[in-house]
Symmetry: C2
Subunit: 239 residues, 2 copies
């Protein structure tokens, strides 16, 4: 269902501008530009992903345990919405109807969104935090295959630092109140990151050279899992 | 439950900067500044109102009938959120905790929000459009009693033009498909504007000079109803 075009725009890898992964090294130098989907597919897929994240955060805002958290998470929801609108703006620049560009990706992303809904508010919040973080990083790695000027702007959109501290504070507050929550969140985080990798990988597996691609994408996943572990660490959870 | 302070800051009426009501005349010159709540109550109440509007629009985005409408309404949701954050920023400037300032108003606004939920997606969307429009206009009329520099900024926040055309297009599309929807929406709009006036009025009725205030506020309501009628007109509905 995902359209990945191969060998269309081979070129020297441009650095991912402003990526929070810049400092990681090794896998950062792997050239994935030939795995980058065509521009419209890339933008449609990421734009709908951010819209789905926004929708999920909207529910989290509506059901927040208190007004301080509600206010805080509303900022995070606004950040996801800004990413969505930033990506939609790129589609509009190309005179592409955003709805048409997003349409091919709605089913898979909606299904994934349902999967990330937890048993309670805290699990759902962790789910959004963990999966959106991983997928933003994943797509940020693929921008190198986009036309250079667009790549810089799209990278800037995807890697805009969010108000993670609000999410971390809300989850820590929940764990302080409920002694069982931490263990539950650790398990949930582990399950989610597996599912998230499958989603990212499925996008690539649709191609005809699946095996080779998997071998190349593995070190990138290892990197992204490093970022994931740091997110879990900040919550005092083992990834 | 609303705290309105009287006679605290009598002064010559400052024009409501950028109000979409500027052109209306007569009632625009009625000085309501002595009816303006104290700054923290004003900001807490309007900030929570915009947050509630955002939450409602979040649900509308999630349940939108198609992707084009979903994308369009997400812009409107972002506008409500920006208003909320603009008002919260004013509270922060005053070193006031936004949650504490909003808290006294959550119950009444939540109750009102439930009241504005319609029987279907279209009624709910009309409900948000009509009630948020009326209440933004209402509070914009009251900014004249706020300290001058704050008043200008708050007025600018409340009267920022929104993407009404997106809402109008979505509702017109619905009415084109369902021949009964128009009549239903017209009735719903009439009921809502009654309830909305009660909400606005109840804020004032808590004071000890209710009768006189009611007489002064009536011409303002007449004006706001004019703006309401124009909103309904644009939808081809009779207010």
């Amino acid at each position: 269902m995902f359209e990945w075009l191969f060998g269309r725009r081979r070129r020297a890898k441009a650095p991912v501008l402003g990526s929070r992964l810049d400092a990681i090294g090794a896998a950062d130098r792997i050239d994935l530009s030939d795995l980058t989907p065509d521009l419209v597919s890339f933008l449609g897929q990421t734009a709908y992903l951010e819209l789905a994240v926004f929708q999920s955060l909207g529910r989290v805002v509506a059901e927040a345990p208190n007004l301080t958290v509600k206010e805080g998470i509303s900022v995070v929801a606004g950040e996801a919405l800004a990413k969505h609108h930033g990506l939609v703006a790129e589609l509009r620049k190309k005179k592409v109807d955003p709805a048409s560009a997003m349409e091919p990706f709605t089913q898979a992303i909606d299904r994934f969104e349902v999967l990330t809904r937890g048993r309670d508010w805290y699990e759902t919040l962790l789910g959004i935090y963990i999966t959106a973080g991983f997928l933003d990083d994943f797509f940020a790695r693929l921008v190198t295959g986009l036309p250079r000027t667009v790549a810089a702007r799209v990278s800037a959109v995807l890697t805009t630092p969010g108000s993670d501290e609000v999410i971390i504070a809300a989850l820590r507050e929940g764990m302080a109140t409920d002694p069982d929550l931490g263990a539950r969140l650790a398990l949930w985080g582990r399950r989610l990151v597996g599912d998230t990798q499958l989603v990212a990988r499925s996008a690539i597996a649709a191609s005809d050279s699946a095996e080779g691609i998997h071998r190349r994408i593995e070190p990138v996943f290892t990197d992204l899992l490093g970022a994931h572990s740091r997110r879990m660490d900040e919550l005092g959870l083992t990834a």
